[in-house]
């Protein structure tokens, strides 16, 4: 039995206002079909009324025809399963649902070991990571690995959903044992915010509706937590970082002298009158105006896409960065980073690749692979010498162009890069910067 905790529905006359004013939470889910992940996502979509009734009916019919005595909500997100049957590569799938105050983008990533690359991709944009464990199994190697990857990718919020609580008789002991075990393990990781929630995705307990089966649990339901977790303060509003993406020069009579630097704010706040420095040239100027389309805005902050005008006619082009004279990244060509390798051919020392960092593109050479990280044991293998597909390691790179970077732990935008195979054009690596010099 369950009683309503929240009433997520966007139906009604004020739907427009809701959609306009709602905020956004991007979260990544990790876990395998066996953990009940598809069922959980199906449950979230269903209980937030993001599923059409007819779609649900179809699933009910299929469930009945298969002889189940419950509705198999996993069928709602069945893309993954049919793909597996057909032998197609399993991939990150994005799904959407909304409640009155928040829109959610789920990066649904497959859980098995060979899919580290998908997990890293899904986590790269996530504000929150949702790891599912089966209450009967407890923490597995796979759930530890998921937590490690979310921590490496600096996903600031983590939810450990202990699923299938109905199959362990709603045992508080089981919940606390897994909770304790995970907390112990998490001390080695970087997880600023953790919530451990006992659920049954199948029956809906503590997903949207508070369960009467867990009187010993006083925390939020999963949906309540997703709706209320505070993500706005995860952004860096202190260190001004504006990678110049595009220079707007209309060259028309009406806008003869217009010269605007367009880009998306990666950190800090930009406003009229701010003294700024343009990197890598080091020229200084003052912000004359910040615009969004045809409107001047008083302040620009992440992740706004704006156009900045400077008072002086300094030379600024794509790939440059606008920062503050006393708070600017040091242009660096020697980069120390954690790299996740995403292709069959291993990454080796001396290898040359293209690198894309913010709006800068250059070339990079691998100077050294310091160690390979075992994401299960956190052991650092210093003898590794190379990184294979889905492996992560600490790598030293030398770049042809200086990167205007920050540590990834400070800024996920200016601290990340991708590596591209110059022959095939394929993205083969993802990097998180430790430091640059």
């Amino acid at each position: 039995m369950a009683t309503p905790d929240t009433t997520p529905t966007t139906a009604g006359a004020d739907a427009a206002a809701v959609t306009e004013n709602a905020d956004l939470l991007r979260f990544a889910t990790a876990g395998s079909v066996d953990d009940g992940k598809s069922t959980l996502i199906g449950r979230l979509l269903l209980d937030s009324k993001s599923i059409f009734e007819d779609q649900l009916e179809a699933v009910e019919t299929t469930s009945q025809s298969k002889g189940y005595d419950y509705t198999d909500l996993a069928l709602l997100t069945d893309g993954l399963r049919s793909e597996r049957e057909q032998g197609i590569t399993i991939d990150v799938a994005y799904r959407y649902f909304a409640t009155p105050n928040r829109k959610f983008i789920i990066a649904d990533t497959p859980g098995h070991i060979q899919y580290t690359r998908n997990m890293v991709t899904g986590a790269s944009t996530a504000d929150l990571g949702l790891v599912l464990v089966d209450a009967r199994q407890g923490l597995t190697e796979q759930s530890r690995r998921h937590a490690v990857l979310l921590s490496l990718l600096r996903v600031p919020h983590l939810v450990l959903a202990i699923n299938k609580m109905d199959l362990v008789d709603w045992s508080q002991e089981v919940y606390e044992k897994i909770h304790r075990e995970f907390t112990q393990f998490a001390t080695k990781l970087n997880i600023p915010d953790l919530e451990v929630i006992p659920i049954s995705a199948l029956q809906g307990d503590n997903v949207v509706n508070r369960s009467e089966n867990t009187p010993w649990y006083s925390g939020p339901t999963l949906m309540h937590h997703l709706e209320h977790v505070h993500v706005a303060s995860d952004r860096d509003l202190v260190d001004t970082r504006f990678p110049v993406q595009y220079v707007i020069r209309p060259k028309s009579d009406q806008y003869h002298d217009f010269r605007g630097y367009a880009g998306q704010v990666a950190g800090g706040v930009l406003k009229k009158g701010d003294e700024v420095v343009v990197l890598p040239s080091g020229m200084t100027s003052t912000i004359l105006r910040v615009e969004l389309f045809d409107q001047e805005v008083t302040e620009a902050f992440p992740p706004m896409s704006v156009t900045v005008h400077l008072e002086d006619d300094v030379d600024v082009s794509r790939g440059d960065m606008i920062a503050r004279p006393k708070n600017a990244p040091k242009p660096s060509q020697d980069i120390d980073a954690m790299v996740c390798w995403m292709t069959n051919e291993p990454l080796r020392p001396r290898q040359k690749l293209a690198i894309k960092h913010t709006t800068r593109t250059g070339r990079a050479m691998v100077k050294d692979i310091q160690y390979r990280l075992d994401v299960n044991s956190l052991h650092r293998d210093q003898e590794a010498g190379e990184l294979g597909l889905n492996e992560i390691g600490r790598v030293q790179l030398r770049t042809t162009v200086p990167l205007l970077c920050d540590p990834y732990s400070k800024n996920r935008t200016t601290g990340s890069f991708i590596l591209i195979d110059e022959a095939t054009g394929v993205t083969v690596g993802a990097g998180m910067i430790n430091s640059g010099s």
Binding site: G12, F52, Y94, A98, Y246, Q295
Partner: protein
């Protein structure tokens, strides 16, 4: 001057807008010859609006490409012309007849003109040497699309290989292509249908009038309401009736059905969609009709 956001928070619609603008600028900066695929539908109009914002006050740094089926609604063409005039955009119209003449498309007498659009489009991309083509596809439209990247690589046959997609991390898009290949770009990937309508509502974006409720002479055929016109004439047993209807998609007029609706403005449409999500039970049966109802603006297969 726009007010300060005291709490430094952006609404989800503003975040989507910022993301899309970022994508437009990235493509304009990195690709030699981009083009925007314009269908005349609401999604491609929202793309135009976002592109307008991304490059203001400069003109769009790429042309628009439309496939003319010869069967477009007049109202859609009128809206298109109004947008093109206002933005001073360059418009390339590729016609199916030209594509047949050029050998991009084979008219075997069996293939519908609807299907021939795909070949026409690919022919136009190849002929003009476009290296990136913006499309209005959204990931919420169907299961397969849920996995498509913002930058979606097409080989030299214009094909998408879902098994072999490039990983796409953070907001770092990889635009590397080889000669002959091109990239499809989906700036609206993360928008839902409701977001699109909310944005049209908020920005008061001009869209074709047939999206809104109006009186029209229609016949019912195969469970669809079709507009009576030069190509659609009543067959034996069919009686034209005048109903208050609106179109949910603006494809070619022989294939696009309308629905009975009183929704005469964007607010009413949003309400209709929001309510439909919970109460449209049983109104439509069968998988075909379901997908029709669920995907308001389902694209013609392969067009985008």
């Amino acid at each position: 001057m726009t007010n300060t956001h005291v709490d430094y928070q952006l609404s989800q619609l503003d975040q989507l807008e910022a993301e899309s603008i970022h994508i437009f600028r990235e493509v304009a900066a990195e690709f030699e010859k981009p083009v925007l695929m314009f269908s005349g539908g609401k999604d491609s109009i929202v793309m135009l609006r976002l592109a307008e914002k991304a490059f203001f006050p400069a003109k769009l740094p790429f042309p628009l490409l439309q496939v003319d089926t010869g069967l477009d609604f007049d109202e859609v063409l009128a809206t298109r012309d109004s947008w093109v005039d206002r933005l001073g955009a360059r418009m390339i119209v590729a016609t199916i007849d030209e594509a047949i003449a050029a050998g991009h498309v084979v008219d075997d007498g069996k293939t519908s003109r609807n299907r021939m659009q795909i070949g026409t489009l690919l022919g136009a991309i190849e002929e003009n040497g476009f290296t990136a083509a913006f499309g209005g596809g959204r990931r919420d439209e169907e299961k397969a699309r849920a996995k498509e990247r913002v930058y979606s690589h097409r080989d030299d046959f214009g094909q998408w290989d879902p098994k072999n997609q490039r990983p796409e991390l953070w907001s770092l898009y990889n635009g590397r292509i080889h000669a002959g290949e091109h990239m499809r770009i989906f700036p609206l990937s993360n928008w839902t249908e409701l977001d699109i309508w909310s944005y049209i509502h908020r920005e008061q974006i001009e869209i074709p009038s047939i999206y809104f409720a109006h009186e029209r002479e229609v016949i019912e055929r195969d469970g669809m309401l079709l507009s009576v016109g030069p190509e659609i004439q009543p067959k034996a047993g069919e009686t034209p009736v005048t109903k208050t209807v609106r179109f949910r998609t603006v494809g070619d007029r022989t294939q696009t059905g309308c629905v009975e609706s009183e929704a005469a403005d964007t607010a009413a449409i949003i309400e209709e969609i929001a309510v439909a999500r919970v109460t449209e039970r049983g109104a439509t049966r069968g998988d075909d009709r379901f997908s029709e109802a669920a995907m308001e603006d389902r694209k013609k297969e392969g067009y985008f």
